[in-house]
């Protein structure tokens, strides 16, 4: 009776059928969700140079640190949408670079959209229409545990009459643990050759006697025919399963999809964006016009995937202040010489000492919020399921902005 459906914030599938009750959260058999909802709330003290302080003092110290910096960087992963909006406002006010952590992985998808476009669909379309699904590069289930349940095993689809046929193209060791109607195994560093061969096969340009990474041409021809024969084909990949040439893989997949759509329908569904990274990308797009790797240091938004990549800036020692946000992810701040303000969920252990350590709540666990799903269309409301006094990232970022304003 007292069970309410809640949304899980711990991966970008954003499953919203979990049951929250007095006794705890029914995580529907998902180990990732179970671990997430069991996260410890032990560390609640804010600190400046290791010494416990009231939140207001920590905020003032963070503002002082950011205001003195010539090139501050705001990065990390894991804030709800309100937190992200406030972080971008802070970056604008402080003249900071802002970039979702590991945005170079997201870039494998969005750079292709910037340069060539995209042909995609949301979860609901794939779950209701797809009659053939090609999984690319590896099993998405480790990152997205309920992906097959959500996208493939829909028992009451609107449009298809039988379950979708599954195919796989990728390394054998990472193959999904599902029965495949067709599978082509090749090393992950040959995946680009694999999708290029599939495109060539569709275009009738693949020599019959060709051998691609040890796979005979006929296998690609057969896979192409399978997709061509589908009413609504879907190509699905977990962007983290792609290698450094992932952008070229995605660009080739786009060419495959364009080819297929001349006669039938086919769509891509890239899976990405856990820790609300796509919420970060969406809010950056609407507030600055750019998806990631944005500098607000010069007064107007600049985008450069190399110069403003957070990991590179840290590694190269180009920044003189770091604001690290980890409200959803487990990650402590990366090692840097720059003084660090760390906004951390209460279960994250700091290996060293941060200049300023502020403990924040986990959205969906400690406070309500909004999370953007992997298809970047649907945003879901997050609930609070336990009582803590931890502030949200939004509240902290807004307080820092106000403190900066008071200093000006």
């Amino acid at each position: 009776v007292a069970t309410r459906a809640i949304t899980c914030p711990f991966c970008a599938l954003a499953c919203d059928d979990l049951g929250a009750a007095e006794a705890g959260v029914d995580t529907r058999g998902c180990a990732k969700a179970a671990a997430g909802f069991a996260r410890d709330a032990g560390r609640t003290e804010h600190r400046v140079r290791g010494k416990p302080v009231p939140l207001a003092d920590a905020v003032a110290a963070a503002a002082a640190l950011l205001s003195q910096a010539r090139l501050p960087l705001i990065t990390g992963a894991g804030a709800d949408l309100a937190g992200i909006r406030a972080l971008i406002a802070l970056a604008d006010r402080a003249g900071a670079v802002i970039d979702p952590w590991q945005s170079m992985v997201l870039r494998r998808n969005f750079a292709v959209t910037q340069e060539s476009g995209a042909l995609t669909a949301t979860f609901g379309e794939v779950a209701n229409r797809a009659d053939a699904i090609l999984l690319l590069g590896g099993d998405p289930a480790p990152d997205y545990p309920r992906v097959f349940e959500r996208l493939v095993d829909n028992g009451t689809p609107l449009f298809r009459s039988t379950p979708p046929s599954l195919a796989y193209l990728g390394p054998a060791a990472a193959a999904p643990r599902r029965t495949m109607a067709a599978a082509i195994h090749l090393d992950s560093n040959r995946l680009l050759d694999g999708v290029a061969a599939l495109h060539a096969a569709l275009a009738g340009r693949l020599p019959r006697d060709a051998d691609i990474a040890g796979v005979p041409a006929a296998a690609f021809v057969e896979l192409g025919e399978r997709l061509s024969a589908a009413h609504y084909g879907a190509i699905l990949w977990d962007v983290r399963n792609l290698a450094d040439d992932g952008k070229a893989v995605v660009a080739t997949v786009l060419r495959i999809l364009r080819h297929l759509n001349r006669r039938t329908r086919a769509v891509g569904l890239p899976l990405a964006g856990s820790d609300n990274a796509l919420g970060f990308v969406q809010a950056l797009l609407w507030q600055t016009g750019w998806p990631a790797q944005v500098s607000l240091a010069g007064g107007a938004p600049e985008h450069d995937p190399w110069r403003f990549d957070a990991a590179r800036l840290i590694a190269a020692g180009e920044i003189d202040a770091l604001l690290w946000v980890a409200g959803l992810s487990h990650s402590p701040p990366p090692a840097t010489m720059a003084p660090t303000v760390a906004l951390l969920a209460p279960d994250i252990a700091l290996t060293g000492e941060a200049a300023v350590e502020i403990r924040v709540g986990v959205p969906g666990l400690d406070h309500p919020g909004t999370l953007v799903r992997a298809d970047a269309v649907v945003a879901l409301p997050l609930d609070a399921v336990r009582k803590t006094a931890l502030p949200s990232v939004a509240a902290v970022a807004q307080a820092i902005v106000e403190s900066l304003g008071a200093r000006a």
Binding site: D16, Q114, Q287, G289, V377, V378
Partner: protein, 552 residues
């Protein structure tokens, strides 16, 4: 505190005022009656300047998933157009699809105080509304895209009674905080997902015709008493000969009020050597004859832009014209879609040139300025900062003729534009861009300057160059606060979101809940956007009244 706007000339068509020299008084965000003795705490000397209510853009793609995808696609546009942060303002970028803050600042600096996003897919409602809380300066609102949602198509296919359809529409509007209902290529977006490549209004897809979709939705909107009539993007956008579809759409409404949007893209004949001709006169004649029909033009403006539309079927066709050559297509959640194709409209290109002329023909041939609205279908026909140029084309015949003379010669031969001598008056401009949009949207206290109206006011210095005049108003007030002066931003209010909450029988929630559980990828309770989510993000909601006309 009372503020006096002294010595202006008032254009307020709602009250029949055409250049009336009188002072305007503002207090607490509202227009108030002149206080005894005309005493005010603060006074602006307008020195004979033109005073109008703030501009209202009835159709502008300003927020939501497809706008964000457009921003992503139009990287060069964002690199070339930068806006630095100021003491009051946030930084931004982009010309054709500016970032959210820049959008608000630009509208306000141009004298506009409200703009409405016309194509929100149901599943994107939460994200679109949260994005709009970062769009300051102007009031806003959204039209919910229906008519390709599989649930409605199923209801129509099994001939569900109209009452149920009304209940469904009412529920959906409340759940998504909508102000109006729009249908885009009714049935066609769904059909395209099933690999149909074209769909005319009498064709059948999944047991339903677009004609039936239009009729059911127009009727539901009318019966629920939603002020804004069904907002229709007809089938066959952009195709030569589509005037027949457009006229058939008017017929399909069977007298229920409808609004035809970006009508320019739906006013094409198939005559001439090039099998592409203007049918503006035919549409204008039909509109003049049918008082229940309104339209906005969707004028094209020469230059680079991007087209962002829910109409995947049309946008898939249009990919052939992409410039630069890249495009996005997305199928969305069994309720809609989006297609994004960059365009560069050129005056020396026959089709573009004739499109330009067709839009202007519509403006000049539709007789009643209360029923035609100034739009470029931002950004699809051109970005909204081009409105002042468009106003000059309408108000200055010599300027229009000079521009016409630069068109592709065959387009010049194919247009009657030079024979149209009409020039819009300031009063007609105030109707078309203020009073009439407020009326058609049901915004009783906007679009006019009567006592009690919200003090959204734009003050323009009279200038024979109407483009210059309308580009940079002398003063702009939003809810009584001066927000812009000669293009400079002085204050950054967040603006309100206008919604309606039509009443329906909540029994519809039972079958809806089942449909969501069986087919959709979110539960009904999480699909539904709580008003508190918008307010909690800094938004402010204003609920406009519905006047139900349901049968007993």
């Amino acid at each position: 505190m009372i503020t006096r706007l002294a010595g202006g000339r008032i254009y307020d068509p709602e009250h029949g005022e055409q250049g009336v020299a009188r002072d305007l008084y503002v207090s607490d965000g509202r227009i108030v009656a002149a206080p005894a003795g005309g005493k005010a705490d603060h006074s602006y000397d307008l020195g004979g300047a033109i005073v109008m209510a703030g501009g209202i853009d009835i159709h502008s793609h300003l927020a939501g998933g497809k706008v964000n995808l457009s921003r992503l696609l139009m990287a060069d546009d964002h690199r070339d157009e930068l806006m630095e942060r100021g003491a009051l303002t946030r930084s931004g970028s982009g010309w054709t699809t500016p970032s959210s803050f820049a959008t608000g600042y630009r509208y306000a600096a141009m004298g506009y105080t409200a703009a409405f996003e016309p194509a929100m897919v149901p599943s994107n409602a939460r994200l679109a509304h949260l994005e709009m809380t970062d769009l300051p300066m102007v009031d806003k609102g959204v039209y919910l895209m229906l008519g390709n949602d599989e649930l409605l198509l199923q209801m129509l296919a099994r001939e569900a009674p109209q009452e149920q359809i009304d209940d469904y529409i009412a529920w959906m509007m409340r759940a998504t905080a909508a102000l109006g209902i729009k249908t885009v290529n009714p049935g066609g977006i769904s059909a395209f997902k099933s690999n149909l490549r074209d769909l005319d209004i009498t064709d059948t897809t999944h047991g339903v015709t677009p004609r039936r979709v239009v009729n059911a939705l127009a009727r539901a909107v009318y019966e629920l008493g939603v002020p804004h009539p069904l907002h229709i993007h007809c089938n066959n956008l952009g195709l030569p000969g589509n005037i027949e579809t457009t006229l058939a759409t008017i017929a399909a409404a069977e007298g229920f009020p409808i609004h035809l949007t970006h009508a320019q893209f739906h006013s094409y004949g198939r005559e001439g050597d090039r099998r592409f001709s203007s049918a503006a006169a035919r549409l204008a004649e039909a509109v003049n004859r049918n008082p229940h029909v309104t339209l906005d033009v969707g004028q094209i403006m020469f230059g680079q832009t991007v087209t962002a539309s829910g109409d995947t079927m049309a946008q898939y066709r249009n990919r052939a014209f992409a410039s630069p050559d890249k495009w996005i297509l997305m199928d969305i959640e069994c309720d809609g879609g989006c297609g994004i194709v960059p365009f560069r409209y050129r005056d020396r290109q026959f089709v573009n040139a004739l499109q330009w002329a067709i839009g202007l023909e519509l403006f000049l041939l539709v007789e009643d300025p209360w029923r035609i609205f100034l739009t470029t279908d931002h950004p699809n026909g051109g970005p909204f900062p081009t409105y002042p140029h468009l106003l000059r084309l309408l108000m200055d015949r010599d300027f229009r003729d000079a521009n016409f003379a630069r068109l592709h010669p065959a387009a010049q031969k194919a247009s009657i534009l030079p024979t149209l001598k009409r020039e819009y008056s300031l009063n007609e401009v105030a109707m078309m861009t203020r009073a009439a949009p407020a009326r058609i949207l049901g915004l009783a206290d906007r679009g006019h300057l009567g006592v009690g109206a919200a003090a959204d006011v734009a003050v323009y210095v009279e200038d024979a160059d109407r483009e210059r005049m309308f580009t940079t108003p002398k003063h702009v007030f939003k809810d009584g606060v001066e927000v812009a002066r000669e293009g400079r931003i002085l204050a950054t209010p967040s603006g309100s979101t206008h919604i309606v909450r039509p009443e329906g029988d909540d029994a519809i929630e039972g079958p809806l809940r089942r449909f969501f559980a069986d087919h959709m990828s979110v539960g009904l309770d999480h699909f539904r956007l709580a008003p508190a989510e918008i307010e909690g993000a800094g938004g402010h909601l204003i609920t406009q009244a519905c006047r139900p006309r349901r049968r007993a």
